[in-house]
């Protein structure tokens, strides 16, 4: 599974929709759309800077959600990636009712697996994607394998978005092996995937990849953006 993260409303609503279409047309399996938050503790300077720009432009969370709903007929799996406060403060139930059926899942950067039930218990019907990390212990596996999501988001680094993962490290491969032993869910590696070589390596180590910082850093420029997402697609098919 190949995926691209782009930030909703960035650099403006029209450009965002065009980049969304480009990702789908390039043949990606899924897209993650970020909803901006001005205290993004899991994000490095590139994505955090883009979040702030969207917010300072006056683009609202509501308008980005409406844009995502408008793209409902585009054939690609759609996920929203954001922070807990956006969903909680929007209203968990209201958020769920608004988007249920339009997206395939939620990735919440500051929601650990053990707190997923907190959102379901307050009316969320959309599946939340669980995380596996380099720190995952055996005792954490239950919450991962029993999740409602169709895949596991493997955080490839200790750190924030924009750092570089080592996709051949023994540590990472052993954690993936530990997951394989208990689940058939797809393991998608995010955080730290930058180059076409990384994308290819992620498909060997796991079942797929998602790229964020490198796509957002090109999101303003359609030519660079499309050239980049195509390069990943070509490399990962070889």
């Amino acid at each position: 599974m190949r995926g691209i993260y782009i930030l909703g409303g960035y650099p403006d609503r029209e450009s965002f929709k065009k980049r969304f279409l480009a990702v789908a047309e390039t043949g990606y399996d899924f897209i993650e759309v970020g909803l901006p938050f001005n205290d993004p503790v899991a994000d490095g300077p590139v994505i955090a800077g883009a979040h702030n720009r969207v917010i300072n432009n006056g683009t609202t969370i509501q308008s980005i959600i409406n844009d995502i709903i408008d793209l409902k007929n585009i054939s690609i799996k759609k996920y929203i990636m954001t922070y807990s406060n956006i969903i909680y403060s929007y209203g968990i139930d209201a958020f769920s009712k608004k988007l249920d059926g339009y997206i395939d899942g939620l990735i919440i950067a500051d929601l650990p697996n053990r707190m997923i039930g907190f959102f379901y218990g307050r009316g969320l019907k959309i599946p939340i994607v669980p995380f596996a990390t380099l720190e995952t212990r055996n005792s954490d596996l239950d919450s991962i394998i029993h999740s409602k999501s169709d895949f596991i988001y493997f955080v490839g680094i200790r750190g924030i978005t924009g750092s570089k993962a080592d996709l051949t490290s023994k540590e990472l491969l052993e954690k993936i092996k530990m997951l394989r032993a208990v689940t058939d869910k797809k393991i998608i590696i995010g955080f730290g995937i930058k180059s076409p070589e990384d994308a290819a390596a992620a498909l060997i180590a796991g079942d797929g990849f998602v790229v964020g910082t490198e796509s957002v850093s090109r999101q303003e420029d359609p030519v660079k953006f499309e050239r980049y997402i195509k390069s990943l697609m070509v490399a990962s098919k070889n």
């Binding site: 503790v41 403060s89 500051d110 750190g159």
Partner: protein
């Protein structure tokens, strides 16, 4: 005050990246072991007494009391080594760090008091230390920046957001995610994910315990206990000991320049429930679900969130919360300095200001104010105002 599964009522929880969960579990385990061990407790008590200078006195401020018609007692945390209550928690968490076998500590700081306390315990325990401080705060609290560097800590200036406390916490969390294997995040206020609020409250509870003992020796309890609230560590430290008494407890937030958005950090007066920096709590946020800008004349109070225990204590009604404006805090700063010869931190000046501004309400009552820190760090701020005009 014990959390239920990490929550105080509906507040608290663990809203952090998954990568930090094993470290939070390890910390909780270490904390529970720590509390069971008499050796640990007595070692901490020794540090608190001989290194930090506890117990701190409760001082009856006669001159101030006479002028305002209120009997004002001050819990003198300003007399502690490093100049504020922050050392209580820093010593405790340094012992937890040693117990966990970690070699490096990081901390956020606003006014610099927690940064200095952390740099101090790092020197004492032989730990590597990195402090995150907003660059705006560093400029307005320069003496503390110099102290941290002298003590051997690396000071990292944070240039994101408003370049103040919230941004320093974010930068610390990011460092922690990247270095979680060998690093402990020595958080300075009763904020963040479980078990931090519980740990910080526990190590700060000595303030309230000593205060209560003092009043027991006097044969009565104070009518009021008043403390300033940013994240809320000094307030929770003193309030805890009085929860089962008839004493009225009041937390004072920074009203800043006004109660308009962006002009204050009066979270409990103006906030809505939200999730921020690891915890569900009241939060200053706008209608686009974004964290609001904050302001206070004091660098230790301008935080858009508040510890989850305070949100709960507010909703249960056991603690009342109010706010004072910058000008009132500066006025109280001058009054205490001139009438008692005690220069208070601008943070603590907020708690005192509430009493002076409402002296008719407190007339004839016994009021205990937590003087959480001393004010020499604030010279750079105070000299920008004409204190004689206040």
């Amino acid at each position: 005050m014990h959390p239920n599964n990490g929550f105080y009522g509906e507040f608290g929880g663990q809203f952090t990246p998954e990568t930090l969960i094993p470290a939070l579990d390890e910390l909780e385990g270490a904390f529970n072991e720590f509390k069971k061990s008499r050796d640990n407790e007595s070692e901490l008590a020794r540090y608190l007494k001989y290194f930090a200078g506890r117990p701190t006195p409760v001082y009856k401020a006669e001159n101030l009391s006479k002028k305002y018609g209120v009997t004002i007692y001050l819990k003198r945390e300003d007399l502690l080594h490093t100049g504020a209550h922050k050392i209580n928690n820093a010593l405790g968490q340094a012992m937890l760090t040693r117990f966990m076998g970690k070699k490096r500590i990081i901390a956020e700081t606003g006014a610099g008091q927690h940064g200095v306390a952390t740099a101090t315990v790092a020197a004492l325990f032989g730990l590597d230390c990195a402090i995150y401080m907003g660059s705006v705060d560093a400029e307005r609290q320069m003496p503390n920046v110099k102290k941290m560097k002298l003590l051997g800590a690396g000071v990292n200036l944070v240039d994101t957001g408003l370049k103040t406390l919230k941004d320093a916490v974010s930068a610390s969390l990011k460092d922690w995610v990247a270095n979680v294997t060998d690093t402990h995040y020595l958080i300075g206020s009763a904020v963040g994910p479980h078990p931090f609020p519980e740990i910080v409250s526990y190590f700060q509870s000595v303030i309230g315990t000593e205060s209560r003992e003092h009043f027991q020796s006097l044969g009565f309890m104070p009518d009021y206990v008043i403390a300033c609230v940013g994240g809320g560590s000094n307030a929770i430290g003193i309030f805890q000991a009085f929860l089962d008494t008839g004493t009225r407890l009041i937390g004072i937030e920074a009203g800043g320049r006004s109660l308009d958005p962006g002009e204050n950090s009066a979270t409990l007066a103006r906030g809505k429930k939200g999730i921020f920096q690891g915890t569900l709590t009241y939060l200053l946020q706008n209608d686009n679900f974004q964290i609001e800008d904050v302001h206070s004349v004091s660098a230790g109070l301008d935080y858009p969130g508040v510890g989850p225990q305070h949100s709960w204590l507010r909703d249960t009604g056991r603690v009342e919360y109010s706010h004072v404006f910058d000008k009132s805090a500066l006025h109280a700063f001058r009054e205490l300095t001139r009438l008692e010869g005690i220069i208070p931190a601008l943070e603590s000046s907020h708690a005192l200001a509430y009493v002076l501004d409402n002296s008719s309400l407190f007339h004839g009552k016994n009021v205990l104010v937590n003087l959480s820190g001393r004010g020499d760090k604030d010279f750079g701020i105070v000299e920008k105002y004409n204190l004689e005009e206040l």
